[in-house]
């Protein structure tokens, strides 16, 4: 799609804004339907997510999760693979984090544990992506099916491990013991002197996520491997022609994808919960699909989309806290509408704007 016909600020500024406005307009109608004031609701949503330090902190905390899972989907996407397995890969990634933290937290400070945990998370997530990747590469088994299946298998594995192997004795909760200081990432609030994120769990993993985003950008557009990945995704026959091994590239791309998804667990497990617990991924992997696609598989877009979703999560929580009539389901509806209007219907206003701008630029050029 050539963007040439509209000024850049329209393409990258006005159109997304219009789309978001449409999403909120329709959401407003739903809010109106259940008898609340849409304006007030938007106010609370925005204020709740951006209006004060702690709100921002929560927004960024959620955004961290989405950056990881969004990047995971995007890397696979560039290789022409649709990895729906982020959910399972992140879940298993938690194992890597937990093993590192449980082993080290009482012995060494967090900054020693952290690299081990990051490696553990990435390795575990990558390992979970490996089988689908290998099957796709060698047997042509469709990665969409296998990653869906591996999400379910991950859930079973984790319940087994958490209930029977890793649970702290005597606890009702299928969860490990809580990590000591050596297994906890510092909160950004404590790290940055000027920050005022209050008690929000936004932590060092955010920095890690941003580094990951930058690394993905470099990987995809500035390395030979990224070139191979994109070539394979865009034209598999050309990739073969260019001496790029499809099998190898598929596996590598999926390993990176799985590793990124696995790293989401750093934020949740080492950064916030400080223990491995059941179902901690709670849908972040799936939202990653929407984030990646809305961000057009570009790291910058993903970071922005992740922040938008972080806002919806945090602002939505504030909203349902303030307005009990607006339940958490309402927030899901709003998310759906945002994905619909800002994602799937992103071209809706385009033709109109093109007409307006062409007209404005050349009022004499009569057409038809």
């Amino acid at each position: 799609m050539s963007a040439g016909q509209l000024p850049r600020w329209v393409d990258f500024g006005l159109i997304p804004l219009l789309n978001l406005a449409a999403a909120f307009l329709v959401s407003g109608l739903v809010v109106l339907l259940i008898g609340e004031s849409p304006l007030e609701a938007v106010g609370i949503l925005v204020w709740g997510s951006l209006g004060f330090g702690e709100g921002i902190g929560f927004t960024l905390f959620y955004a961290t999760n989405f950056i990881f899972t969004g990047l995971a989907v995007a890397v696979a996407f560039h290789a022409g693979l649709f990895n729906i397995g982020g959910e399972g890969q992140a879940y298993i990634g938690g194992l890597g984090v937990a093993w590192a933290c449980l082993a080290l937290d009482r012995i060494v400070p967090w900054w020693v544990t952290m690299p081990v945990a990051v490696l553990g998370a990435a390795a575990a997530g990558a390992a979970w992506a490996f089988v689908p990747a290998w099957l796709q590469a060698r047997r042509g088994s469709h990665v969409v099916i296998t990653t869906i299946m591996f999400n379910f298998i991950a859930a079973s594995l984790m319940v087994y491990l958490l209930v029977n192997v890793m649970a702290k004795p005597g606890s009702m909760q299928p969860e490990t013991r809580t990590f000591e200081a050596g297994g906890r990432l510092p909160m950004l609030n404590d790290l940055l002197p000027f920050a005022s994120f209050g008690t929000a769990p936004v932590n060092l993993a955010l920095v890690l996520a941003l580094v990951a985003a930058l690394a993905v950008w470099v990987l995809v557009w500035r390395t030979r491997l990224g070139y191979a990945i994109r070539t394979l995704g865009a034209n598999p026959t050309a990739a073969v022609y260019a001496g790029i091994s499809p099998a190898r590239t598929i596996v590598v791309a999926m390993l990176i994808s799985g590793g990124l998804a696995g790293m989401m667990a750093i934020n949740e497990i080492m950064g916030s919960q400080h223990r491995l617990l059941i179902e901690f991924v709670s849908g972040y992997g799936f939202v990653g699909i929407a984030v990646a696609l809305m961000g057009r598989a570009h790291p910058l877009g993903i970071v922005l989309a992740a922040i938008l979703f972080g806002m919806l999560y945090q602002g939505g929580a504030e909203l349902s806290f303030e307005k009990p009539a607006i339940t958490r389901d309402m927030i899901v509806v709003i998310q759906g509408l945002v994905i619909l209007f800002a994602g799937a219907l992103e071209h809706m206003f385009r033709p109109t704007l093109v007409r307006i701008f062409t007209f404005a630029r050349a009022p004499s050029a009569t057409v038809g």
């Binding site: 916030s272 179902e279 709670s282 929580a317």
Partner: protein
């Protein structure tokens, strides 16, 4: 001044047809009786537990009742931050001076309905359908088995779990299939501890002309004549009491264990199932209740040693 109570539900949400819903019922009951409104919140992910508790606390809500064992860590943390606010947690113990912990002896209630199941069974085979294979559900299952065997030592108990994802608590279709599979193996009474999934279990029992047993709240009315009884877990009472005690200035912290003796767990008998419970059955469970309360019969608590000897 009036108290400003609050309830924080667990992930299942306040209409989970299970303990969260019971908590909601208790809070509503209190509101009706006292005219005092309350706040509540349904979390969507683990990070919101602390956030919501803190939000309540900051607004001066008290007492704040957190439902579900998953809230323990959050309650512990926030209760320390706000020592002047009264907290309560259901299903888990948090040892702090401003926290009331309410735990239930689900195994005792399950024991009672297990006995009823065994006695109502023609085939000597009964079933259990749990949501997810987690300790709490094993606790239900274990008490139930002991009860079944107490009434009929040669009885057989089939035990199934629905799944390993959150959907396990909301999958009536799978619940129905699990029940049907147990019926196919000869069971004719099935007890569920599976939230919304259980609706499918009870439906399958009704469809097949077998008996189901409800859980947490009284589900006898769902299929009158087909639900043998329900194991009541009075989370509603726990919530109601917490609010009421705070209002009357009778608030106590510490651990409250609610078993048969305290009326915290029970089995339901009403007009919907009275025809199903014979005098003989009733007599037997009444006897068992006495024995349990007096301590002559000890119902095994799975959580005590993480095993179920049955």
């Amino acid at each position: 001044a009036d108290i400003q109570p609050a309830v924080l539900y667990d992930m299942g949400g306040k209409f989970d047809k299970s303990f969260n819903e019971a908590a909601y019922a208790g809070a509503e009951e209190f509101k009706k009786a006292s005219g005092i409104d309350y706040r509540d919140f349904e979390i969507q992910n683990d990070s919101q537990r602390e956030q919501a508790l803190r939000n309540f606390a900051k607004r001066g809500q008290s007492p704040i009742v957190a439902i579900g064992f998953s809230q323990a860590n959050a309650v512990e943390k926030i209760a320390k931050e706000f020592p002047d606010i009264q907290f309560a947690i259901v299903d888990m113990v948090v040892d702090l001076p401003n926290v009331r912990s309410v735990v239930f002896k689900e195994h005792e209630g399950s024991y009672m309905v297990g006995m009823l199941a065994a006695m109502a069974s023609q085939t000597g085979k009964v079933g259990f359908v749990g949501g997810m294979d987690i300790p709490l559900i094993r606790k239900f299952a274990c008490g139930y088995k002991q009860g079944v065997l107490a009434a009929k030592p040669d009885a057989e108990v089939f035990e199934n779990m629905t799944g390993d994802t959150g959907a396990a608590w909301n999958d009536p279709v799978k619940g129905g299939e699990l029940a049907k599979s147990q019926f196919a193996r000869g069971a004719d009474v099935v007890y569920h501890a599976a939230g919304g999934t259980g609706i499918g279990v009870l439906q399958a029992a009704a469809d097949a002309g077998k008996l189901g047993i409800g859980v947490d709240s009284n589900q006898n009315a769902l299929h009158p004549g087909s639900v043998l009884t329900s194991m009541l877990k009075r989370v509603d009472v726990a919530v109601y009491d917490a609010f009421e005690d705070a209002r009357n200035g009778r608030w106590t912290s510490g651990v409250t264990v609610l078993g048969l003796a305290e009326g915290g767990v029970d089995w339901a008998l009403d007009e919907h199932n009275e025809k199903l419970i014979t005098a003989e059955m009733k007599a037997a469970v009444d006897k068992a209740r006495e024995d349990i309360v007096s301590g002559t019969v000890k119902v095994h608590d799975y959580m005590a040693d993480q095993t179920c000897p049955f």
